[in-house]
């Protein structure tokens, strides 16, 4: 394919429109922020730092959305993992890596509960994960911590939470970037990733072509639980205590970022790069609002409108794509269906 063809395709693609929006936001806030501090090195690092936990949740949720499901429980699993981590480390007897492994296994456990409810009992994934998250995981975090935020004083974990490489870039930022890079390549370059797209596009056709959608669903839910737990661990490392509000409120923004990044509902398409750009846009936007000293209540309003805008753009682009290829009658059914 010649360069012009690739370029034309790129322009029409989702990544380009995301980059434009990102530029728009950067320029807008660069201009308005007091002495243009929006683009200062510290602020960029702050933005990346604020994205760390969101990246983990977004990666967990994006793969599931591509495969046609949705998961609202990682935020709550994160809090449960954080509380368990703090409880395990309290006595100082349990070494940190044992505690980390236990928490990750616990995250996988909650993920598997989600998988069983969705696959075995055919419960719709969003109500099943909501139930597991808001009740089971949250209840578990209260029980394991006895209702109080246990301080964490383990040296390695506190280092993890606060250390900065070259005194600028926090370790957690590097971890999160590494994770989105690894999962991005898995999704686009490996056969497992290809399987996620194929099962998301047409589960029965994939099964008849030798893939195993059920196993994949179990794997993805377990992975989502694990990444949720990992985010919980990083959260505890950063604030050095098992706070019980923890990352409960992170599930919704993660799904927002994933949709914003062009991963369409009902699976089948969308890339991890889009997801990263979506996150960058949302966090840069929120950061900008804070710098301009916008009251947080208005930030709630703005983040709701941001998601609606994302859904509108997704609607317009799918409509344009539809008009191009599917015969009219099939499209009429698809739209009404």
């Amino acid at each position: 394919m010649d360069i012009a063809g690739i370029a034309k395709k790129f322009i029409k693609g989702k990544t380009f429109s995301l980059l434009c929006m990102l530029m728009l936001i950067i320029v807008f806030f660069w201009y308005f922020s007091p002495n243009h501090s929006f683009l200062s090195v510290t602020n960029i690092v702050i933005i990346l730092n604020s994205m760390v936990l969101f990246i983990l949740f977004a990666v967990a949720v994006s793969m599931l959305i591509i495969s046609g499901e949705v998961d609202l429980s990682p935020g709550f699993i994160g809090t449960a993992a954080g509380a368990t981590m703090a409880a395990l480390l309290e006595g100082g007897t349990v070494p940190w890596f044992v505690a980390v492994i236990i928490c990750l296994l616990m995250g996988i456990g909650f993920g598997l509960i989600n998988a069983v409810l969705v696959n075995k009992f055919r419960i719709q994934s969003f109500i099943a994960t909501l139930a597991v998250g808001t009740f089971l995981a949250r209840g578990f975090s209260f029980i394991v911590s006895g209702g109080r935020a246990i301080p964490v004083r383990d040296p390695v974990i506190s280092w993890l939470g606060t250390a900065r490489i070259g005194d600028v870039v926090p370790v957690t930022v590097l971890i999160s970037l590494a994770i989105i890079l690894v999962y991005g390549t898995i999704l686009s370059k490996t056969k497992f990733g290809r399987g996620v797209y194929l099962c998301g596009g047409n589960r029965e056709a994939a099964r008849l072509a030798g893939l195993n959608p059920k196993k994949l669903s179990y794997l993805l839910f377990a992975n989502s639980g694990m990444l949720g737990a990992l985010a919980g661990i990083l959260f505890v490392a950063r604030i050095r205590s098992g706070n019980l509000d923890g990352t409960n409120a992170f599930s919704f923004p993660a799904v927002t970022a994933v949709i914003f990044g062009g991963i369409s509902f009902g699976g089948g398409s969308g890339k991890m790069l889009g997801c990263f750009l979506g996150l960058l846009i949302i966090n840069a936007f929120n950061n900008g609002l804070t710098i301009m000293r916008v009251s947080p209540f208005w930030q709630d309003v703005a983040s709701g409108l941001l998601l609606l805008l994302a859904l509108t753009l997704d609607y317009i682009s799918t409509r344009r794509a539809n008009r191009a290829s599917i015969p009219k009658s099939a499209r009429r059914l698809k739209q009404e269906g």
């Binding site: 002495n35 702050i46 936990l53 606060t162 009251s295 947080p296 317009i316």
Partner: protein, 390 residues
Amino acid sequence: MKKVVALLIAAAMAFSVIACASDAPGDAAPPVEEAQPSVNNGAGTITVDVSEGANSIGFFLDDVDPQSRRTYDVVWSFMRPMPLMQNIGDALVELEDILNVNIIHYNADGDIDALIQNIEIFAAQGVDGFIIVIDPTASERIKEVLDNTGIPYIAMLNSVRDENGRAIVPGVGLDGYQAGRIKTQWLYDNYRTYWGEIDTARLGLLNFNFSPNVDFNDRYLGALSMFQELFPGNTNIFSADGVAGRLDEQTGFDLASAILATNPDVEHWFIPACLEHYAQGAARAVESLGMQDRVLITTTGSDILSAAWDSGYDGAAWVSCIGIHALQYAAPALCALVALMNGTATPDTLWSGLRAPGDLYTFFYVELEIVTRDTYQDFFNRIRAEAGLG
């Protein structure tokens, strides 16, 4: 048509950004001139304690005339949008002209990680001081981040203590445990005026709690310990932990109504609620069960109750509360911060006279006074007068 909608939403967003940028307290948009050389916070030989001159609510002026220096940017940062936090914000704004400061509001909407991030953001913006609710669940980390910024700060509401309980940050707040004890004490001293003599063996304690929050938990423990001291051997103690619900009236209503209705053998009830929302819910539950003449409710904080009294509420059960005017917090905190920013005081010299033995810095405890329907007006007026707002 659908494209029109997308543009509409984008416009709505742009409007919401600009609208709020303009009405945010303090002129946010114009670029602040280059930050001054870093404020000399507490260097050198300051020994005299400027806060000695503080009046009973803790308001004082250091010897630097506020109008002679530039306007300081002060960030008021807290975790969750509660009525008290909002009122403290408004009280700080009232003091802006007197102390020549510009207050910037920030609330983390329950996300402690964002709270920490935003300290760094504001530090990078070159703000001059923080008045911050240091959430006890992450106090070490928040203190560490604040110290790294080198910007003076005053803790609000929650005291910050190290492992062996020493206060390590100057702050203004309320002694939750003491508040719990005072409420039960008040109920004990005044129940006769409402009920006359009663069979104290058939008296019950309905003790609200929201255990994950350290402050509410202290109030719960204080009330419990005082009740056990006043009525040794009385086992009618019922704890109502709202953690399964939310911090709202419905949870207070459900818990109170369930416990009150299913323990008929308890004739009279003390309800020293730890949180105003639960007290309001309990008051409605008592009214719906027709038990106004057998239940006395009091709580910490007077925002909801004073507003209700203003609009004519004269319910028989919810009779009193610990009077809290936001100025009681705002005045001492802002004055102390201004002194730190002016360099006329150091964290060590603030309120040195009031320091509890063993503490590194003083945590200025707000006076706790229980107010009733007929005493709350002049309590508030006294506070305003003492804060120089007449």
